[in-house]
């Protein structure tokens, strides 16, 4: 896979880490490359988990051209990733950078990080899905506090409301990031993918319809070699070796 500027892509065994390298990112600069990387992630059976390292990013700018603005959505791209996505952020996570972490499945940050959406004070508003994604993560009440009052919260508060999953010391950020990614590479990729799909679906449907979908996904998984071999290894107490089940 190419390493397009200003992104770097690390391909490792069963996972991929996409790092944004510049402090200031313009969505147009990365959108098309990111799009092609994500298409490859979704079709490449050797990639089970995706990591986004955004620790170097200070700001994601607004899109300059209004004609392009409706076509360029970073969160929409991330939402399209079928594999689990782990995000790493640090510092002041504001506005569009804040929006970018919302479609990720697991968010890691450090003790000093803060989170703010202040668009409303700048004759502006959320653009990349925050009004829809944030309430699905932290509930309507807290979302209104953050979006309508531009309230800044620290990482402890962010963790308490479910915005971030884990807070670690700054020097351990990378280590924990890799550890979490590698933990997921021990699990069945297909089971992870289907579980993620079903959870994401649950917010947009009623419980019974969602349960039917869960059942359908389970049925597909039932015929996978991965599941059969996994159950047999549990029964035989032998070593389990998950692979991208067919």
């Amino acid at each position: 896979m190419n390493n397009p500027e200003p992104m770097s892509v690390l391909n490792s065994d069963k996972y991929i880490i996409i790092s944004l390298k510049n402090e200031i990112i313009s969505p147009e600069e990365i959108y098309y490359d990111l799009n092609s990387i994500i298409q490859e992630i979704n079709t490449n059976e050797d990639i089970w988990v995706v990591g986004f390292d955004l620790t170097k990013v200070v700001k994601i700018c607004d899109i300059k051209s209004s004609s392009e603005s409706l076509n360029i959505s970073l969160t929409k791209l991330i939402l399209e990733i079928k594999k689990p996505v782990i995000g790493l952020v640090s510092g002041e996570i504001s506005n569009r950078l804040f929006e970018m972490i919302l479609p990720m499945d697991y968010r890691i940050t450090d003790k000093k990080s803060t989170f703010i959406m202040s668009q409303i004070f700048n004759d502006n508003m959320q653009f990349d899905g925050a009004t829809q994604l944030l309430p699905r993560i932290i509930g309507l009440n807290k979302s209104k506090e953050l979006i309508m009052f531009g309230k800044q919260i620290n990482s402890k508060e962010a963790s308490e409301i479910g915005l971030v999953n884990i807070i670690v010391d700054e020097e351990k950020l990378n280590e924990i990031f890799i550890r979490k990614i590698e933990l997921l590479t021990q699990f069945s990729p297909l089971a992870m993918q289907f579980t993620k799909t079903a959870i994401n679906f649950s917010k947009d449907t009623n419980t019974i319809r969602g349960m039917n979908m869960e059942n359908d996904l389970y049925s597909i998984l039932l015929s996978s070699k991965d599941r059969t071999s996994s159950i047999n290894s549990i029964k035989n107490k032998s070593k389990r070796n998950p692979y991208y089940g067919k």
Binding site: P84, I137, G162, I199, K203, T207
Partner: protein, 237 residues
């Protein structure tokens, strides 16, 4: 009437469904699930019963599905049909009367999903909650991917289901998964008793409607929910 893996007890308005498969830590096999379903349906049509408690007398509440039954069916079609025809989880979700779970020990997989399908959870501090499905190359099948979001948020749901991490009662309480916890099991039983005693005086029809409306609030549009609340409220006058 008696069942192999379920004990049933009814005292005035309170029914108790007791998991009784201690040799397998109350792992749910096909027969146990069908017995559970039968007892639940009996509770549903018995108008004397206003509240159901699901619990166990053994060490662990429920250790999930009985894995020894997996991969034992002659064809995938057959095992597929078994999961498709199993309405227990939907029956639990649609059960009109309040359900209380009283847990201790392992609350794993389907066991965890049962408490997510119930209305109130009282847990002893020995309770350990875990969704190991992904770790075992499975996906949740008892509604977990849908019901977790009714009680907690999507970040926590993904943390529990994608990472298969075990959580204790303190975390479960903070996540909004359980309502009460104590290290004194007798105290917990007493709390449940007081709770069910309060329900005794409430009209069953009212109880069912309020539960239905509350469940609707997480999945239907606000105006429909509000309209139905007014409609039901008027009809109960």
């Amino acid at each position: 009437m008696s069942w192999k893996y379920i004990k049933f007890d009814k005292n005035e308005h309170v029914a108790k469904i007791i998991f009784d498969n201690p040799r397998k830590n109350n792992a749910l096999n096909i027969l146990m699930r069908s017995e559970f379903s039968e007892v639940l349906n009996a509770c549903s049509i018995d108008d004397e019963i206003k509240v159901v408690i699901i619990t166990t007398n053994s060490k662990n509440f429920c250790s999930g599905a009985d894995l020894s039954e997996f991969n034992t069916f002659p064809s995938i079609v057959e095992s597929n049909l078994i999961s498709k025809n199993n309405n227990l989880w939907k029956d639990l979700y649609n059960f009109e009367k309040p359900i209380i779970c009283l847990t201790k020990g392992w609350v794993i997989g389907s066991g965890f999903e049962i408490i997510m399908l119930s209305d109130f959870v009282f847990s002893h501090t020995s309770s350990k909650f875990k969704m190991p499905e992904v770790e075992l190359s499975l996906t949740p099948i008892s509604g977990g991917t849908q019901t977790f979001l009714n009680k907690t948020n999507v970040a926590i749901a993904k943390e529990i289901m994608l990472f298969s991490e075990e959580i204790d009662v303190y975390k479960a309480y903070n996540f909004g998964i359980i309502n009460f916890y104590s290290d004194d099991y007798n105290l917990l039983i007493e709390q449940v008793r007081k709770f069910t005693e309060n329900i005794k005086i409430i009209d069953l029809k009212r109880l069912k409607i309020v539960k239905k409306l509350l469940n609707m609030s997480t999945e239907e549009n606000l105006y429909l929910g509000k309209h139905l609340e007014q409609y039901y409220s008027e009809s109960l006058r």
